[in-house]
């Protein structure tokens, strides 16, 4: 089987005159965590619903695990989905819930029981398997939902806002599970979330949607450089060595170095112009400048990189699209 598991080509969904998704194209491969980003109403959930055959596209094509969009039954067998704000039957236990879904995928009663028990253990709910779902916390429900999305050992797992409403510990647990799905199962994870710092950590590729259209896509570095984010850094050194540090930094013509009026021991470093298409080149330049400072024997009391995060790129491209 080819390593490409998700391929969307000019996917479009209209509701009457309103366009929910317009000409969305991207690909994702096995073992990859693919970030589907965008502000509220950007078309992320609609894109997931199209790819999981819950909705029919107005135009465009897609394939999942090699199955064309017309083979909806095969696609449903190949995907696992955690819908946004998924509901759970309050009167079922976590174990019953997973066993029911496992059986819907054709597993016998005995195998469904085994799969349910293993998945509950994998998401840390084995001790609550026979508790009613109504007694679960939000984080536990999200983990149960992720376990349900894995009952059929899917090739592609779609997780729509899996960390929504979770505390930091719950978010970390869910992100750890997501890493495990991609790594240990070699599955593609399509992750829709607003947690951009976490996306930066776990996603190998991202696509940013706005008003139903792809604004930018690629690796995190490519997206940042496409957004032409101006990177800057703050460097704090001992006050008596500031002039020496400025002399060292003068060897980097692409950098503009200024001194903060209110904190004379702090230097601001800014790239004169962003390096389009250079991936993480801007941070390379900053790192080289930092290395030169330390090589000159100047102690670095503080160093903070600013302006080159995915969140900055996200805000820039989505606000530009609005403008």
């Amino acid at each position: 089987m080819t390593s490409m598991t998700v391929e969307a080509v000019r996917l479009t969904k209209h509701y009457g005159d309103r366009s929910a998704v317009e000409d969305v194209s991207f690909t994702a491969s096995r073992g990859e965590i693919f970030g589907l980003l965008g502000p509220n109403g950007a078309g992320k959930t609609t894109t997931i619903r199209l790819l999981t055959t819950v909705l029919s596209p107005t135009s465009g094509e897609f394939s999942i695990a090699g199955h064309p969009s017309t083979a909806s039954a095969e696609i449903r067998r190949s995907v696992g989905v955690l819908p946004e704000s998924s509901g759970y039957p309050a009167h079922q236990t976590g174990g019953e819930y997973l066993r029911f879904f496992a059986r819907l995928y054709g597993l016998s009663r005995g195998v469904a029981r085994t799969v349910a028990a293993e998945l509950l253990a994998a998401v840390g709910l084995d001790d609550r398997a026979e508790s009613l779902i109504s007694s679960y916390s939000r984080g536990m429900r999200q983990r149960l939902g992720i376990a349900r999305s894995l009952v059929n050992d899917p090739v592609v797992v779609f997780l729509d806002e899996p960390t929504l409403g979770l505390d930091p510990a719950g978010q970390a647990q869910v992100l750890e599970i997501i890493r495990g799905i991609a790594k240990n199962r070699d599955a593609t994870v399509v992750l829709s979330t607003h947690l951009l710092p976490e996306v930066e950590q776990v996603c190998s590729k991202v696509v940013i949607l706005n008003h139903g259209r792809v604004i930018v896509s690629g690796s995190v570095g490519e997206v940042i450089s496409t957004a032409l984010i101006k990177q800057s850094a703050q460097l704090r050194v001992p006050l008596d060595l500031v002039e020496r540090a400025r002399n060292v930094l003068a060897g980097f013509p692409d950098l503009t170095v200024d001194q903060l009026m209110e904190q004379p021991d702090v230097l601001t470093l800014a790239m004169d112009r962003p390096r389009a298409g250079a991936g993480s080149g801007s941070s390379d330049l900053m790192n080289a400048a930092l290395a030169a400072i330390t090589a000159a024997g100047i102690p670095v009391l503080r160093y903070e990189l600013e302006g080159a995060r995915l969140s900055d790129a996200f805000l820039k491209v989505t606000s530009e699209a609005v403008a």
């Binding site: 509901g87 309050a90 819907l104």
Partner: protein, 279 residues
């Protein structure tokens, strides 16, 4: 706590040896029925019905002042009550079937499984019908008490079961259609109950009112009223089962048309947004 999710150490669904051939609709019906009864919804409705039935049976069989009915009429009254309440609860449960899942956010998880949407509908209809079967089951001892002395026990039970099941299938299907088309669960349930009230209205008209051709047409066009009239004609008037069979045409047509509409529109009806337009 280890949160590494490795593939399950079991055979995958694709393996023929472990694939259970049980159809999706059976699994959905099983689960829906279990939810209906273990959640307490079904039991509460049944409990209320049994109190109502006990009161009616007690009055018709023991109270000399109110016991104005002939024994056959008492059996007829209890059976009609069972059909009426059984159909009502079946309709209410089926009216919650699709719109309720939408509102609770549980429908999408079901839609992404390989189970067809027609199977989901079939499973939900069967689960709703268990309300009718349970209602009828509760009625059996009461009918036994009233009918044993007049020798119509078997006939009354068979008649009530067959006619009631036919009406319950028809109106249960109508309830699911309404549920698929309505924007909210509340609207779906209120619309269904309103429909049932309209259907019951002719059965509550005083017998002294002048009855003519129009009333007859109204009665025959109404699946509930005509079904109850058929039960009455066999049990009270002593007609044979085939004599007034024409009264069952509307209940039968309702079941066929509503059931057929569910089969035909099923794939477009069970979706995240109400209506049957392409989703």
């Amino acid at each position: 706590m280890t949160l590494q999710v490795a593939p399950p150490d079991v055979t995958t669904p694709q393996d023929e040896a472990v694939v259970d051939r049980q159809s999706g609709w059976v699994l959905v019906a099983e689960q829906e029925t279990r939810d209906l009864w273990t959640s307490g919804r079904g039991l509460i409705l049944l409990f209320l019905f049994s109190i109502l039935l006990s009161g009616v049976t007690y009055l018709t069989s023991t109270n000399q002042a109110l016991n104005f009915l002939e024994q056959r009429e008492s059996v007829n009254l209890v059976l009609q009550l069972a059909v009426a309440v059984g159909v009502l609860v079946t309709l209410v449960v089926s009216a919650d079937g699709i719109s309720g899942e939408r509102e609770r956010g549980t429908l999408e998880s079901l839609l992404v499984t390989p189970v067809s949407r027609r199977s989901i509908i079939a499973g939900k209809l069967i689960a709703a019908l268990t309300m009718w079967f349970a209602t009828f089951g509760i009625t059996i001892p009461y009918v036994w008490v009233l009918a044993r002395d007049v020798g119509i026990l078997g006939q009354a039970l068979a008649l009530g079961f067959l006619v009631g099941t036919l009406v319950a299938i028809g109106l249960g299907s109508v309830g699911l259609l309404i549920s698929g088309l309505c924007n909210s669960n509340k609207t779906s349930i209120v619309a269904s109950i309103f429909l049932l009230l309209i259907l019951f209205a002719p059965t509550q008209l005083p017998s002294g009112l002048p009855q003519g051709g129009f009333f007859d047409v109204l009665l025959r066009a109404n699946p509930v009223a005509s079904a109850l009239a058929y039960i009455s004609s066999v049990l009270v008037e002593g007609q044979s089962w085939t004599e007034d069979l024409v009264l069952l045409i509307t209940p039968l047509l309702t079941a066929i048309i509503a059931g057929g509409a569910l089969v035909l529109a099923g794939e477009r009806l069970v979706k995240l947004t109400p209506g049957v337009n392409a989703g």
